[in-house]
Symmetry: C2
């Protein structure tokens, strides 16, 4: 299977698939003309990575998950540990963004937003506005 088809089937751009090969996530065969030749197992791996990435796992975490995926003897505890760590991380990011949102919302709602130059947003960024 050529890379174009692999791209279609996995939902990943060809560029990205080559990149994943560069960094050692998979090792497709080559045909005589030098073209990459993807097996259905390769496609499964690509889809696996695509899903993991879209769930917010880093490429390195994908590498670990992929090796667990391919290990029929794995402990589910190992997988769960990675997912739990990611969950904690996502929770932290959400809390951070919610705080940010509150601050931004406050600023936006207090700026009259017309042609006059005085602006509570600038004042705040300059450290002259509300306490930070």
């Amino acid at each position: 299977m050529n890379i174009g088809i692999a791209s279609e089937k996995s939902g990943l751009p060809a560029k990205t698939i080559r990149y994943y090969e560069d960094i050692g996530l998979l090792h497709p065969a080559r045909t005589d003309n030098g073209y990459r030749d993807y097996s259905t197992a390769d496609i499964h791996r690509l889809r696996f990575v695509q899903r993991s990435r879209s769930l917010g796992f880093s490429v390195d975490e994908c590498r670990q998950l992929l090796s667990l995926y391919q290990d029929r003897e794995r402990d589910s505890a190992d997988v769960k540990a990675i997912a739990k760590a990611k969950l904690v991380e996502v929770d932290r990011k959400i809390a951070e963004l919610v705080g940010l949102r509150g601050l931004l919302h406050h600023l936006v709602s207090h700026c009259h937003g017309d042609e006059r130059p005085d602006c509570p947003i600038i004042d705040e960024l300059a450290g002259q506005g509300m306490a930070q």
Copy 2:
């Protein structure tokens, strides 16, 4: 004022301050020995950028905000537009992460997490689990 002091006063690492100069966010004077020499106005700019960055504005947005900050004739509407766009972006990110969190939480809570190899997390990532 040497860069070390500027770093202390602005809360930014010296490396980062030099980087901000590289990309044209500020242009401190130089003393005879070639050392950067920061004025209090430079410190205000640095603090301004530091606060803006911590509120999630990109360096490029900081550049715009900084030029508005320094423009006594600015329209507050221009500042508000940037802040509102950022607010929308933050909202979008939060929604995405909350969705992610739900999925991860579901996966984590359904994985028994012991020494057995069967694992709903892997199943899901492989596309064999719950619908995606």
